[in-house]
């Protein structure tokens, strides 16, 4: 961001940044997170996701175990570490959720609208997608993120994502970069990752899906973007839209090399 350069004379005083209490607040929050880390409710989603993965379901009554997440049918270990990626059968770049939906359609015989119907849970209503995505991501735990940006469609997705990252619009004039373009900034007390800085991006991108204590449920990367656009006063982002996946590929470029630590635990 550029510094205030028009304040000559009138407002030349640069304020000492923050009251002394700020340090203590930050320490308090860190302690809070440390105590929460003792047990992550996302484990419940991961377990339910594993069960869903292995249970025959849908009109064809088969499980998802033969789903091709990019490393071949039936290979789930390490697959999430290489998503999003291009899939020749759909001729699309797909993320975890979009690919799971493809498998629900092709393997299990669900209609596309059925596979995409309930991506985000609400109190009293589970989302299978949140559970499945937690399981699939957890199967790459400890591995390094290595999203390929080689196929023409992957490169195109990266370029589109880059444009979208900087695209300002709506009544708040926000783009992704408005909150994620600088190091060491916060919204209220939450640190904002600078998503084009590998140091920040590697920690953040690799921790989704995550249990969000403020929402009492696991949320996925699709939901993270949907929620960002909500805060940006944009309309409702379509689930698994091309834009959402393009933004993920853009973020993955900087997050590559980070260690998968999903499902995470967040505010």
């Amino acid at each position: 961001m550029r510094i205030e350069r028009v304040l000559a004379g009138l407002l030349a005083v640069i304020l000492p940044c923050a009251a002394p209490a700020q340090q203590d607040t930050q320490k308090g929050i860190e302690r809070y997170r440390q105590l929460l880390a003792e047990g992550n409710p996302a484990d419940l989603w991961e377990a339910r996701g594993e069960q869903l993965w292995k249970t025959p379901r849908g009109p064809k009554n088969v499980s998802l175990e033969q789903c091709d997440l990019g490393l071949g049918p039936g290979v789930v270990k390490g697959a999430a570490a290489r998503l999003p990626r291009y899939f020749p059968d759909t001729d699309r770049v797909q993320d975890i959720e979009s690919r799971l939906a493809t498998c629900m359609v092709t393997l299990q015989g669900f209609k596309p609208e059925e596979a995409l119907r309930n991506p985000f849970s609400a109190p009293g209503r589970h989302s299978d997608m949140e559970a499945l995505a937690s399981f699939v991501a957890a199967e790459s735990k400890g591995m390094k993120l290595d999203v390929p940006i080689r196929h023409p469609k992957e490169i195109e997705a990266f370029r589109i994502g880059e444009q979208l990252f900087y695209r300002r619009a709506g009544p708040y004039d926000f783009a992704c970069v408005s909150c994620h373009g600088e190091n060491g900034k916060r919204i209220r007390l939450q640190e904002l990752p600078r998503l084009t800085d590998p140091g920040d991006a590697q920690k953040i991108f690799t921790s989704w899906p995550a249990y969000r204590v403020s929402q009492g449920t696991v949320r996925t990367m699709q939901h993270r973007l949907y929620d960002c656009y909500w805060q940006m006063r944009h309309p409702q982002m379509d689930y698994t839209s091309e834009a959402s996946i393009a933004l993920m590929v853009y973020m993955a470029k900087y997050a590559n090399g980070g260690t998968i630590n999903a499902p995470g635990l967040k505010r």
Partner: protein
């Protein structure tokens, strides 16, 4: 041998509705919460709890008891205000 001290951590999937939350239409959602949790080992209760609505959603519980051996079972049962009940068992792990 008295057995080891067993560290028990439990996560439970439950909404823990307070009865104070409103749904999208503005109607109060009735309370729905775990009221009793009982943990047993070898036929003996090692912890029993009574909870109100202010225990967090998807509750977490951590405690320790003496006398458990690797391979033995610990049984955790909860019952909520609607009379719904769930029991799970876990096996005490071999100390690392």
């Amino acid at each position: 041998m008295a057995g080891d001290k067993v560290d028990v951590k439990v996560l439970m999937a439950h909404e823990m509705e307070t009865g104070l939350r409103k749904d999208a239409k503005g109607n109060l959602v009735p309370p729905h919460f775990i009221r009793n949790v009982t943990v047993t080992h070898g036929g003996k209760t090692v912890l029993s709890a009574q909870w109100g609505t202010s225990v967090s959603r998807n509750p977490f519980l951590h405690f320790r008891f003496k006398g458990g051996k690797a391979g033995e079972k610990v049984t955790i049962t909860w019952m909520d205000n609607k009379g719904e009940k769930r029991t799970d068992e876990a096996v005490i792990a071999v100390p690392a």
